[in-house]
């Protein structure tokens, strides 16, 4: 469970996040949706502590993350997996080394044990033969999958994904979305996914938070979303042809 209370984040005097309170449950795929520039990435990075928030509190289960010092946060971070908008694989390392890095740093396992875990994770994301490739040699979809493998290698309790399927074709997007959903359920992870893709919303969204101009505008389930009478939310949702059709069929 992850809880944010009255989060405020100010950049250059502008309230990029304005009094946002959110609650995300374990074992569920939680979505944050909103237009480009609405503050999704800032919210995600604030939750994990990559941005220091100006007001409010963040809880990971019962732990108040905002009050922890650097070293205590490091301990929590070992339970966090994150997938960045661009993948953020280390360019100078192979796929295998990228995934093994957290194991190298935080476990005392032997090389064989570590490689077994790396192999398992790569198989889990359907890339059993990519070990020796460098990030520059991967396609966009493969990069996202390696990023997922790296994020889950330490068995995280919390998984954060910033637009995991931006820039991918619809088929690959669905594969990635479902992969995230499966992993979430399999290991009972608290997962938070940023997206502006309505396909993902209808496919994997369980709890959905709609952010508009830095404020929490709406929250609910994917069943509620088509019937909401919130104007900004409707503008966002029905910009997609797929959602229009779904509404017409209701």
């Amino acid at each position: 469970m992850i809880r944010g209370e009255n989060i405020v984040k100010i950049f250059d005097g502008r309230r990029v996040l304005d009094d946002v309170s959110v609650l995300f449950d374990a074992g569920k795929t939680n979505l944050i949706i909103g237009r480009s520039g609405s503050g999704k990435t800032v919210l995600l990075k604030s939750l994990v502590g990559l941005h220091e928030i100006d007001e409010g509190n963040i809880y990971f289960d019962d732990l108040c993350y905002t009050k922890l010092d650097f070293n205590a946060r490091k301990a929590v971070r070992k339970d966090i997996g994150m997938i960045f908008q661009g993948g953020a694989l280390l360019d100078s390392s192979t796929v295998e080394d990228n995934i093994r890095l957290p194991l190298d740093l935080f476990t005392e396992q032997s090389f064989e044990e570590k490689m077994e875990r790396v192999n398992f994770c790569l198989k889990r994301v359907n890339l059993p033969n990519a070990h020796k490739l460098y990030p520059a040699e991967l396609s966009g979809g493969m990069i996202k999958r390696v990023a997922i493998a790296r994020a889950i290698v330490l068995n995280p309790k919390y998984l954060f994904c910033d637009e995991p399927n931006s820039g991918l074709d619809p088929m690959t997007s669905i594969v990635i979305d479902n992969l995230i959903k499966e992993i979430t359920e399999e290991y009972n992870i608290t997962t938070i996914v940023n997206t502006h893709d309505m396909n993902s919303v209808m496919e994997i969204g369980e709890k959905i938070v709609f952010i508009h101009e830095g404020k929490k505008w709406w929250e609910g389930t994917k069943h509620d979303i088509l019937q909401s009478d919130n104007r900004e939310l409707n503008d966002f949702v029905f910009a997609s042809a797929m959602a229009k059709r779904a509404k017409a069929n209701m």
């Binding site: 990075k45 994990v48 990559l50 490091k74 301990a75 971070r77 070992k78 966090i80 997996g81 994150m82 960045f84 908008q85 661009g86 953020a88 694989l89 280390l90 360019d91 100078s92 890095l101 957290p102 190298d104 740093l105 935080f106």
Partner: protein, 247 residues
């Protein structure tokens, strides 16, 4: 002026982060070896080329300007040696390396910043500043003095080649001058300077890369700044160190 102290303050904070206790020594050791290869070993070529030419030119200049029956020809060898050891092999080589190594470090780390690779390291619970910058600092502090020794040897050799080929002086006179009033201490002095310059180049370039933000334009700007600022720092510290050691 305020901006200068603000930057200096942020630089010091970063250095504190860089030199905090590493997560795991074995990983750092591997990275240090890797950086020695990437930043040190790969600079041997350029250091050798400029050294042989500078040694040759210094010898030529000396020979032309010291054309007098009252000055022993061996003085040319002596002067070449002193120039190479005292200033050239540490300071000028460091300035060249500031261009090569400094821009390399700043653009590498800057790119990692804007493509969120540094955020990814932080999220894993890794002290990214230390993980990225410390191995580079340690590697160059150890490797640059080696480059300096190499540069001294090659530079003096360049002078000898010129002496032999152009016939402006007897190579034997040159060799005699090389060993005249030789003080091993000046080599130590030069090596200390090389280590200090290595630290300056690597930490300053790392700093500008680490705090790059925005897009590839900014990374380019960060790497230019890294080269300019580390060059100035080298010149300033050269003055300070010379004052401390040689007076």
């Amino acid at each position: 002026m305020i901006k200068f102290f603000d930057t200096l303050g942020r630089y010091c904070l970063l250095m504190k982060k860089v030199f905090s206790r590493p997560e795991k020594w074995s990983i750092y050791r591997k990275r240090i070896v890797f950086e020695m290869d990437a930043l040190g070993y790969n600079s041997i070529g350029i250091a050798a080329i400029i050294s042989i030419f500078m040694g040759a030119v210094v010898t030529l200049q000396m020979a032309i300007n010291l054309e007098s029956p009252f000055i022993p020809r061996s003085l040319i060898g002596y002067a070449t040696r002193e120039t190479m050891i005292l200033e050239f092999s540490s300071t000028v080589v460091a300035l060249i390396l500031a261009g090569k190594v400094g821009s390399n470090i700043a653009s590498e780390i800057g790119t990692m910043r804007i493509t969120e690779q540094i955020d990814a390291l932080e999220i894993m619970g890794i002290n990214s500043a230390s993980y990225l910058i410390m191995p580079k600092i340690v590697a160059t502090i150890f490797f640059f003095p080696l480059l300096t020794i190499l540069s001294m040897v090659i530079g003096v050799f360049g002078g000898w080649v010129v002496a032999g080929f152009t016939g402006i002086m007897m190579p034997d006179d040159y060799i005699e001058g090389l060993f005249y009033a030789f003080r091993p201490l000046s080599i130590i002095y030069s090596l200390i300077k090389a280590s200090v310059f290595a630290y300056l180049i690597t930490s300053i370039s790392g700093f500008f890369g680490y705090y790059a933000q925005g897009n590839s334009l900014e990374v380019g700007r960060a790497s230019t700044k890294a080269v300019v600022v580390s060059s100035i720092a080298i010149l300033v510290f050269n003055l300070i160190l010379t004052q401390i050691f040689l007076t």
